[in-house]
C-alpha cells in the first residue's frame, strides 16, 4: 500500500513538475495586434509571456555562418539570406533566437520547434547590429 501511495505521489509530482516546466506555446499570428500602419502593438499574450519560457514553431532563416548560436526564426521559409542580399529586407514578424549552445543549421524549409525565454522590446545586437523586437534567449530547438 505504502509503495503504491508513494508511486502515485511520485507520478502526481512528476505530472505537476511537467505541467510547470511545459513552455507556453506561442504562434506567429499571436505576436502583434495591427490596428493600423502606425499602431502596431504586442499582444497581451506576448507582454504576459515576457521573461517566460515559450515554444514557437517556425523556420530557420538562412544563417550567416555554418555554425552559429544565433538565427532568425520566421513564419515561412525564407527564400533569400537577407544578411547577404542588399535588396532583401526581413519581414516584420520574426523572432531572433539566441541558442544556449552553438548548433548546426537545419534546412530552411524544415519546420522547427524552438524553446527559449521570451524577451520583448527593441534591442540592437552589438555584435551584428541586427535590430529586433522579439527574442528567445537560452534557446534550444528540434526539427519537426
Amino acid at each position: 500500500m505504502g509503495a503504491r501511495v508513494a508511486q502515485v505521489a511520485a507520478l502526481l509530482l512528476a505530472l505537476t513538475v511537467t505541467a510547470q516546466a511545459l513552455p507556453a506555446p506561442l504562434g506567429f499570428s499571436e505576436l502583434y495586434v495591427v490596428q493600423g500602419v502606425l499602431d502596431v502593438r504586442f499582444t497581451d499574450k506576448v507582454r504576459k509571456l515576457d521573461g517566460e519560457t515559450v515554444r514557437v514553431k517556425g523556420f530557420m532563416a538562412p544563417p550567416l555562418k555554418a555554425e552559429s548560436d544565433f538565427f532568425v526564426l520566421s513564419k515561412e521559409p525564407m527564400m533569400v539570406c537577407p544578411f547577404c542580399s542588399s535588396a532583401a529586407s526581413w519581414p516584420l514578424d520574426i523572432i531572433v533566437v539566441h541558442l544556449d549552445a552553438r548548433a548546426e543549421p537545419v534546412d530552411p524549409a524544415t519546420p522547427i520547434m524552438v524553446e527559449g525565454r521570451l524577451e520583448v522590446g527593441h534591442w540592437v545586437d552589438p555584435k551584428t547590429g541586427f535590430v529586433s523586437q522579439l527574442r528567445l534567449r537560452g534557446a534550444k530547438f528540434r526539427e519537426l
Partner: protein, 584 residues
Amino acid sequence: MNFRLLCGAAALALGMAAAPVAAQTIYPIDRASILAGSKFDLKVEFPAMIINAVGMRVTLNGQDILQTGNGNPTFIQAEDGKLVSSLVVRDMSLSTPGTYTLQASDGTNTKSVTWDVYATPANPVAKNVILFIGDGMSVAHVTAARILSRQVVEGKYKSKLTIDSFPQMATIGTSGVDSVITDSANSAHAYTTGHKSTTNALGVYVSRAAVNTAHPRVETLAEIVKRKTSKSVGVVTNTEIEDATPASMTSHTRSRSDYDIIVEQQYNVRPDVILGGGAANFLPKSAPGSRRADDQDFIAKYRAAGYPVATTVGEMQAAAANAGNTKLLGLFHLSNMDGVLDRKFLKANTVKTYPQQPDLTEQVKAAIDVLSRNPNGFVLMVESGLIDKFSHPLDWERAVYDTIMLDNAVKVAVDYAGNRNDTLIMVMPDHTHGINIVGTVDDARTGEQMRDKIGVYQDAGYPNYPAPNAENYPEKVDVTKRLAVFFNNFPDHYETFRPKLDATFNPAVQDPVSKFYVANQKYKDVPGAMLRTGNLPRATGSTGVHTADDGIARGFGPGSDQLKGFVENTEIFRIMATALALGR
C-alpha cells in the same frame, strides 16, 4: 584637410609615398553627360599617397580646378586611413554647355576624362512631368496584361491598353558602370540624375570611399526641381517608399539597403507628396513594428513640417480632397504593399492585416489632386514596383495583374493631362526580366504529366479567363485553360503550372550546409508539380534575375518627341530636364 590650405604655398616639391602603379580614377566618369547647372561632386582618386602636392595638378579645360572657384575642394591625404590620397570637390556645377576635359596628374601619371555638358532650351515645353516606372516590366508582362484585360479573339485584340495609345516609343539600354546587368537602384538613378552608376547605388558614383554616403554625389531630379523651380514634387509607389526606385528621387548612398539613411535624406528634400509602403523605417526604434536603429520619428517630423498623414485609402482620399492641402504623406503598410491580385481577388499575403491599402490608381489620383494645386506645376514619379517583386520569384500572374494596374494608373494621368498639352507622361521599365508567353496550359488536355497539357502553336488556342470587369481585371485567375508563361532563368524549383492562390510563389530556399539555393519542398506535392533544375549559379541564384534586354519606353505629351529609336536610360533624365527647361 583643406586643399587650398595644403597647396597655398605654391612651391612644394612632389613626393609620393609609393611608386604609382595605376593612373588616377576620376568621377564623374569619362563620357558622362551633365545637365548644365546641375550639381555634382568631382573626385580624383590617386593611386598612392601624395606627400607633397606640388606636382599634383587637376585641370578643367586646361584651367586649374582650384583656381576656378567651382565647388568646395578638399584634399584627403590618407583616405579612410589608407596610404592613398584623393581630391574631392563637392557641389561643382557647369553652367556653360560644351565639351569639358578634366585632367588629373600626380606628377607622374596623367589621366583625363571628357564630359558633355548640355543645356536645355530657355522655355519649358511642359509644365508637369509624370514618370511611370513599371519595375521589371518586360514585353511579355505587357502582352499578358493586354490578353487578360482586353481579350484577344481570332488574332485581334478587342481593345488596347492605355499605354498602347502613346505616340512615342523607344528602346532603352539599362546597363550600369560596373555591369551589363543593372539593379533597380542603379537604373532608377539613371532616370533621376542622367548619370550611369553602379549596382545598388543611388545618387552617387561608386568610388573607393569606405563610407556609403561619402561617395561623389550627383544631384537628383527632385533636388534640381526643388532648387531651381517653384514646382511641387511627388513620389508614389506600392513598394516601400524607401525602396530603390522611389529612393532614387532624393538619395545619395552607395547602398540601397540603407533604409534609415534614405528616409532621412528623403525628409531633407521633402517631396510634397509621398505615398507608399515602408512605414517601418519612419517609426522610432522603440515602437513595435519599427525597423529603425535610432530614435527618430519621421511621422512626427513630417507632421511638424505640415504634412497631413494618411494610413488608409479613406484618409488619403479625404486629405487629397481638402483643397487646402498641398502636401501629403501616405504610408499604407509597414513594408511592401500588397499586389492588386491579392487585394482585390485572392485576399492572400498581408491583405487581411492591412485591408485598407489604396490601389495605385487611387494613389495617382490623390497625388495629382494635391500636386496640381501648385500653379507652377509638378514632377511626379509613380512606380508599380511589385511587377518586379513578383517576377523575381517567378509569380507571373501577380506581376501581370500589377501591370494591368499600372496601365489603369496611367489612364488616371492621361485623363488629367487630357488636352492640356502641358504634361509630359512617360511609362517605362527600369530593366527587364526573362519572361515569355509560350502557349496555354489546358487542364482538359490529355497528358500524363502537366507539361503534356501545354499547347503550343496551333494547339495553344486561346485561354478561358473570364471577361474583364470594369477595372479591366479578369476576376478569376485559376481558370482551366490559362496562359503558359515561363521565365528563362531560375533557381531549382517545382513548376506547378498553376497560379499560387495562397501566397506569392517562393521557389527556392537556401540549403544551410552547401549554401546553395534548392527547390522549396513546399510545392513538391502540388498535383503535377515538376522539378526544374535551375540554370543560375547555385550559390547566388535565389530567384529569377534581371536581364540586359532592352526595355520599352512610351511617351505622351509635350517633350515626348525625343523618345524614339534607342536611348540610354540616362537620356530619360535629359528628356525630362529638357521638357522642363531645367538646364537654363
